[in-house]
């Protein structure tokens, strides 16, 4: 196996070219475990850590551009600097981390909220947004949250750079729409509708385990009427589950419990979850409407009074 650490995206793309068993290495949290289990045997490993641009977070044309190598911990914000300690914000150290978290407010908060609930600090410190997307595990937290946020992915390949809505990125279990020779360079997150709130509700056996079911939502209300809703369910099939019909049911309603359960039933009927140690397929489908009602009900309460 060849190990490379290119310093630019074009060099990385060149290293991936013409070898379908070459793989990028981001935080290594999943790839290393899969290599240790002999499940994946790359011919060439392209380490991305030296590519400075992939670690950057910038604001461009209403989009927050998050480099593929930004860790879950940076997305979640520096937790040690919350509460009373937040007073040191901006005084060096974790300052930049806090400012990313600050930019993930409103609708974008769905992404921060998902990142915060991934695994435990060690995994969050190494695992990256790019790795989480490219691994394309539908039980993970960030894929659904990014679909709810209406994010776009930026992909580099031999023919240059393209961007696409994140919705179409997830094809099947562990299968993204990346073509051989392509890599993810950034995720672009729009500001979202005015006044919207975003949240990620994760239901799992223990803190930090993968979700049995997760619900990512971005919701806005005006004068008691829902003006925007985008709801996505994770661990419910081969890709994050999003139905325009469910959003349409919520939009224009008062988000009362009956409507929430109705939208949940629609999504449960479309869900095709796996049967495994974390929960049976039937159990996951049964949970879905109740969790959706809990997630969106909590959002509704934030608009009351």
């Amino acid at each position: 196996m060849i190990y490379l650490e290119p310093e630019s995206v074009p060099e990385a793309v060149a290293a991936l070219a013409g070898d379908e068993d070459a793989r990028c290495l981001a935080g290594g949290q999943t790839l290393m475990a899969m290599m240790n289990a002999d499940l994946v045997m790359p011919s060439t490993l392209v380490g991305l850590r030296r590519i400075a641009g992939l670690h950057e977070v910038t604001e461009t044309e209403g989009m927050l551009r998050i480099g593929a190598m930004v860790t879950h911990a940076r997305l979640a914000g520096e937790e040690r600097l919350e509460g009373a300690r937040a007073v040191v914000t901006g005084s060096g150290g974790g300052g930049d981390d806090v400012s990313i978290s600050g930019r993930l407010e409103g609708a974008r908060a769905v992404v921060r909220d998902a990142a915060r609930q991934i695994a435990h600090p060690a995994v969050r410190n190494r695992g990256t947004i790019g790795g989480a997307l490219c691994h394309a595990d539908p039980q993970a937290d960030l894929p659904g949250a990014l679909v709810a946020a209406g994010a776009h992915v930026e992909i580099a390949g031999a023919d240059g750079v393209r961007t696409a809505p994140v919705d179409g990125f997830f094809v099947d279990y562990l299968e993204s729409s990346l073509e051989p020779g392509e890599m993810l360079t950034a995720v672009l997150i729009p500001e979202g509708p005015q006044g919207a709130v975003g949240a990620h509700l994760k239901f799992s056996r223990t803190d930090g385990d993968y979700a049995i079911v997760s619900v990512s939502s971005v919701v806005a209300m005006q004068d008691g009427v829902c003006s925007y809703a985008r709801v996505v369910v994770g661990s419910a099939g081969p890709a994050p589950l999003h139905l325009d019909a469910a959003d349409a049911l919520l939009t224009g309603s008062g988000l009362d419990d009956a409507v929430l359960l109705q939208a949940g039933d629609l999504l449960a009927a479309a869900a095709d979850p796996v049967d495994d140690v974390r929960g049976s397929s039937d159990y996951r489908r049964l949970l879905l409407p109740a969790l959706l009602a809990r997630a969106v009900g909590a959002a509704r309460e934030r608009f009351d009074g």
Binding site: D172, Y173, L174, E175
Partner: protein, 163 residues
């Protein structure tokens, strides 16, 4: 799939399905007697050799995202009731990569009117070695998916073959 899984190994996987084929039962029976025809319907099957009466060797490629495997498989027909059913025992391993699979499968035909036949299959597969470390839930989905592709290919191939 949630890797790493908290428990290892899918143990025994069961897949079951039935589907209608637009051909009378004797034609479907003749079709499934041909290793070459059936092999062409198995997703990822690269070739099949008949090595004896009711004995076959095949090479099958499977892939889930970055996880790829190539199995060398021995299939033996263990039971046969002409026009009704056939049972097979399958053993396979990856060249040098230490995954082994074994399966018992049964195929049953039932006439559904004069022009259609219901084909039912049931298979119990166990996988040991590196692929046994893969999450059970996704493995089952993948197996069901491959079963569905097999059914569709078989249906299509029989429909496209002149009687």
């Amino acid at each position: 799939m949630g890797f790493p899984p908290t428990v290892s190994g899918p143990g025994a996987l069961k897949i079951e399905n039935s589907f209608l084929v637009p051909a009378p039962r004797d034609r479907v029976w003749r079709f499934i007697q041909s290793a070459e025809e059936v092999g062409a319907c198995v997703p990822g099957c690269e070739h099949v050799d008949v090595v004896g009466e009711g004995k076959f060797k095949a090479r099958v490629r499977v892939k889930v995202g970055p996880i790829k495997a190539l199995f060398n498989i021995d299939i033996e027909r263990t039971e046969e009731e002409p026009m009704e059913s056939a049972s097979y025992s399958t053993r396979g391993e990856e060249g040098g990569r230490a995954s082994r699979l074994s399966a018992r499968s049964r195929l049953t035909l039932r006439a559904a009117g004069e022009k259609e036949t219901e084909v039912a299959y049931a298979s119990e597969i166990s996988i040991a070695g590196r692929l046994g470390r893969f999450g059970a839930g996704v493995m089952k989905k993948k197996a069901d998916d491959l079963g569905g592709q097999f059914a569709e290919a078989l249906r299509q191939r029989i429909a496209d073959t002149p009687a």
